[in-house]
Amino acid sequence: MTDAVALPPPATPVRTPLATRAAAAIPKILFWIYVGAFFVYLFAPLVVMSAAAFNTSRFPTLTPWLGTTTDWFAQMADDAAMWRALWTSALVALGVVAIAVPVGTAAALVLTSLHARARSVLYALMVSPLLTPGVVIGIATLVLWRQIGVGGGLLLIVLAQASFISAYVMLMVAARLQRFDRTLEEAALGLGATKLMVFRRVLLPFLRPALLAAALLATLQSVENYNTTLFVRGFETPLTVYIATKVRTGLTPAVNALALVMIAITIAGALAWEIARRLEARRAATPS
């Protein structure tokens, strides 16, 4: 309440004393210290992890620095178990994309043709897997399939992951659908196209960018998933499980080498994604 009272009278153009200016600068300085600390917090762990891949020490660390080497990369590349894990992850991701992209797209289309009340109920059900802890999704899938005698393994990993990744696809496709001009469909129908043709030649091409983005997101989500996969993996070892197991069974900088490769791919991917997004935004902004 005293804020308004404490307000100085309208300033006459006199030079403010140095002390006042310094005092005014304090919040700004504090803010920049906070921003600096934030980014140190964000990147220091990744930098340390990456740098440790080049230390000859058998345990990944920077201290002490025993010598610089690239041997850990060779050791990682020779690790047959790592390649098997990568292959498992790739198979799972393929399965997840094959299920989640069609399912999520169908879900977005079904939502648009519903009335408000039914839509909000169905929508809540569809996004519920995103608000469910990953371990619960894994457990629920595991117990259901045990009833019919199917144990953990590739199939269950794919189904459990698809149950929540489909929701991401649905959201991305639904966002794109909002910008779709339905009169295009009517025009095509008026010109004698069948409904199937309209879907294939008008709607699908319009959705294509969203479908590609959704497939990419689904792949990333699938490869990096751990919590859900842990419960339904059976005797399979996807990449994240492999890395987590390594921590317990003998962590060497070879894992850091793998991490550095994954970080590099991630950065390249994030940059490509961002550039593509900006090009798209620019194209959308310029009237054609």
Partner: protein, 293 residues
């Protein structure tokens, strides 16, 4: 359904409905219902399944309520997740505000790009990074000893380590929703408030936070859910004294061999998270449509 058929024809519409039915019934509802079924049945030998002992009861839930160690770990997981949520909010809010309101567009897009990178790196690797940093003879202790801040190395693994690792892992689930919701706030509103003499604190509590409530609610809901359901951070950064509820659940499945009790514990976790979602949405008066954007 009528509108769907009219638009796509019976064949395609039927196919869409089939896909959605497969997803919602087969992958979402049926597993959860079976989990509830499991949670309410006793753990029996295969020969006794379907026999006179195979009746529904709340025994598995009562076991959790009566077992002091598990009960304590459950409540600890709840409040620690709330703490993770609060800490993440405090860490993210100023940056989100700066990004959305005061940063120049080019600076903002550069920062967003820098933020995206750790976001795409998976949780196991992010946690592994902290595991290496926090090692007893690791870089953090070496740095602090070198600077003279510590006299002897600290044990970072434990509650503190888990908290730091979790805040780190979920920072962007909090930052981006808040950033998006502050971005739509008119700059003129903040300026007007300042011209009228409002303090920085009042500008935030009376204008920015109410405006950004949907984003704040979204960030809080996701962070809490992810923290409560986290397995990697407590497994890697924890100590024997800092066990997480998910670790107890895991043990029931893969070490204790009692899936029914494990399912009951998982059900409790699910109900907890759904309750937090519903209560948060009610308190912030936000609809589910705003959350999943």
């Amino acid at each position: 359904m009528g509108a769907l058929t009219a638009r796509f024809g019976a064949g395609l519409a039927g196919f869409f409905v089939l896909l959605v039915g497969f997803w919602l019934a087969g992958l979402v509802l049926a597993p959860n219902l079976m989990m509830i079924d499991f949670a309410l049945r006793p753990n029996l030998l295969p020969a006794d399944v379907g026999g006179p002992a195979d009746v529904y009861s709340l025994d598995n839930l009562a076991y959790l309520a009566g077992e002091p160690v598990h009960r304590d770990i459950f409540f600890k997981t709840v409040w620690a997740s709330a703490l993770v949520m609060l800490a993440t909010f405090v860490v993210c809010y100023p940056l989100a505000y700066w990004l959305a309101q005061t940063a120049s567009p080019s600076a903002a897009s550069l920062v967003v790009l820098a933020l995206i990178v750790p976001f795409w790196i998976n949780e196991v690797l992010r946690t592994l990074a902290w595991y290496i940093l926090f090692a007893f003879r690791g870089p953090l202790n070496a740095l602090l000893l070198g600077l003279g801040i510590l006299d002897e190395p600290m044990r970072w693994y434990g509650d503190g380590g888990v908290l730091v690792g979790m805040v780190y892992a979920y920072i962007l689930f909090m930052l981006f929703p808040i950033y998006n919701s502050i971005e739509s706030l008119e700059k003129a509103q903040v300026e007007a408030a300042r011209d009228l003499g409002a303090s920085t604190w009042r500008i935030h509590t009376r204008i920015v936070i109410p405006h950004a409530k949907a984003g704040i609610a979204t960030g809080c809901v996701f962070t809490f859910m992810l923290a409560a359901g986290s397995y990697v951070a407590p497994a890697l950064l924890g100590a024997p004294g800092s066990r997480w509820f998910t670790q107890i659940i895991y043990n029931w499945f893969f070490e204790g061999g009692d899936w029914n009790r494990g399912a009951a514990y998982a059900l409790v976790l699910l109900v907890l998270c759904l309750a937090v979602v519903l209560i948060t949405l009610r308190v912030f008066r936000v609809s589910l449509t705003d959350v999943a954007k």
